[in-house]
Symmetry: C2
Subunit: 324 residues, 2 copies
């Protein structure tokens, strides 16, 4: 098996960009890298398991993209610039077509984001992919989950709910183009790296949306010892949602608020910084929508645009919401 799995490494040895901070890459006991003075490193790891995090029959190119993308999204949330990745790939068998497609998806995103694959391990077993990513950030300038202050405005990038729609409507015979757009968001999430960097020195706290907007905003609030009041109608929906669900359907709220897998950034900034946030939206070309405000105390209070209380549907996120 060892020979068969050595072969796998060929698919990955040359697919990532050349970086001058890489002293020794794949092929020794460890990689050697250097960090420029005045920079910290951000380091994150995420695992995807077949049958748990994605259906077993998912296009391997999408799996390769997403395994890297969800990790890059963590770097985006820290305001870090991607540098190096390691890939631990556990495979039932050395299927060359699968590997070529996986490597193509992983490699394209690696090149686009400037991250070099510097090491890895290939083992035999149930399909599991663990990616460790590194990014650098000027010392002291990283964004974290902590730091939101009462009165800060709460923003989110892009439009939410498309990944949840794609999962919920996988087998449905509905608006084909809209569903395809949602499927694209589920399979090929785009980490908001440029946005994260642009928010250095502006955002008071940031997190990426993997578990769902309310769950992740809840993490951000707990880290800062604060609460939040949000307008559930102001939360930006992915444009395809309007073609897939009526506005009085529970899914109109469930998907963007609790769906997860969106990989947008949720962040807070002082209310007085609104024009700077707008300038970031302009310069990055990424829509940034204000949908709530940080409050003293704890918990999330969700209201409709008309001020009436929001009652969560069956989305399993009732415990995030504090009734007031």
């Amino acid at each position: 098996m060892a020979g068969e799995f050595d072969l796998i490494e060929r698919y990955f040895a040359h697919l990532s960009p050349v970086r001058d901070d890489l002293r020794l890459g794949i092929g020794d006991d460890a990689a050697l890298v250097s960090v420029p003075p005045g920079h910290d490193l951000a380091i994150a790891v995420d695992t995807m398991v077949a049958g748990v995090h994605f259906p077993v029959d998912t296009d391997p190119q999408a799996i390769g993209h997403k395994a890297l993308a969800v990790n890059l999204s963590d770097l985006a949330a820290m305001g870090a610039e991607p540098t190096w990745a390691l890939l631990a790939l556990t495979l039932p068998e050395a299927d060359e077509a699968w590997l070529a497609a996986f490597a193509a998806g992983f490699g394209r995103l690696a090149r686009e984001s400037g991250i070099a694959l510097i090491g890895g391990d290939t083992t035999q077993g149930p399909l599991t992919i663990t990616v460790t990513v590194h990014g650098r950030v000027p010392a002291g300038q990283a964004l974290t989950r902590a730091g939101a202050q009462p009165g800060d405005a709460i923003y989110v990038s892009g439009g939410l709910g498309a990944a949840a729609a794609a999962l919920a409507l996988r087998e449905a015979d509905v608006a084909r183009d809209a569903l395809q757009a949602c499927r694209q968001r589920l399979d090929y999430p785009e980490p908001r790296l440029a946005l994260g960097r642009a928010l250095r020195g502006l955002a008071s706290a940031a997190i990426d949306i993997s578990d769902g907007l309310l769950a992740d905003l809840g993490h951000l609030c707990r880290a800062g010892g604060v609460g939040a009041g949000i307008d559930v109608d102001a939360v930006p929906r992915h444009p395809a949602l309007a073609q897939l669900v009526a506005r009085d359907d529970a899914a109109w709220y469930d998907w963007p608020l609790a769906g997860g897998d969106d990989y947008e950034l949720c962040f807070t900034a002082p209310a007085a910084a609104q024009s700077r946030v707008e300038a970031v939206a302009e310069s990055t070309g990424i829509p940034l929508t204000r949908f709530g405000e940080i409050t003293p105390g704890e918990g999330l209070v969700c209201r409709h645009a008309d001020g009436s209380a929001f009652r969560p549907g069956a989305g399993g996120y009732q415990h995030f919401v504090r009734q007031s």
Copy 2:
């Protein structure tokens, strides 16, 4: 499941040492660390799959130890000082007794080696453990596989073959104490971190022994574009082997030469540096045995102490040996 797996993180949040180069640990989108000026980072990742790399019923404390130890062994081979680790743990279920034992094994070695657990991911699925480790090394002083020169002496630390004996004799009714000693080596390998650091500026090349001495020496030779001549009788055996196998048995050779899982260091040094190597053995308390010499050309030539050709047994390592 999310809540159940959040709980798991409690087992790991407080088990590692405090380091002043850690700016932000477990609990944000990424950890933040700093690297002192004049140092490079060594980074490695290894995966262990239940049923492939260890029997499913292995003591979870041993699994926790070994998952970290095999990675620390890679840092040892680079001459690096361990700094930070990330743990990606995929588990079929959140079994608290299993987790407590796993964390105890992982945590004890983490504290002993000064490595801080700075991040991780816990997911549901077939038992798979991926550890990413980081170590620092003064810039330009890392040991690598490349660099061995014809005429260099070849050394190995400790005694080999015990892990292979433990695997081969798992069910056997033989010398109980000797087998127990071998089992200990299989389950609780000791990464040679102090040795690796002591070899900076002395070893011309180094590798840790995970695949087996001949296989790993073969990697070292290929990386340097050289060959090797070795005395198979001079290769140091673990002391327990003499009680478990006769010297005319194939296993007397197979286990130490091809067994793997020893996690000793194999390294080369100029022949003139013999006294410096002896001083390192003295200062670290780790036996270092010279068993061969780097040659021009390629391949490994194996001879007995009397100069006769060595014929490999059934250990599956014939392809490493060049007949001459």
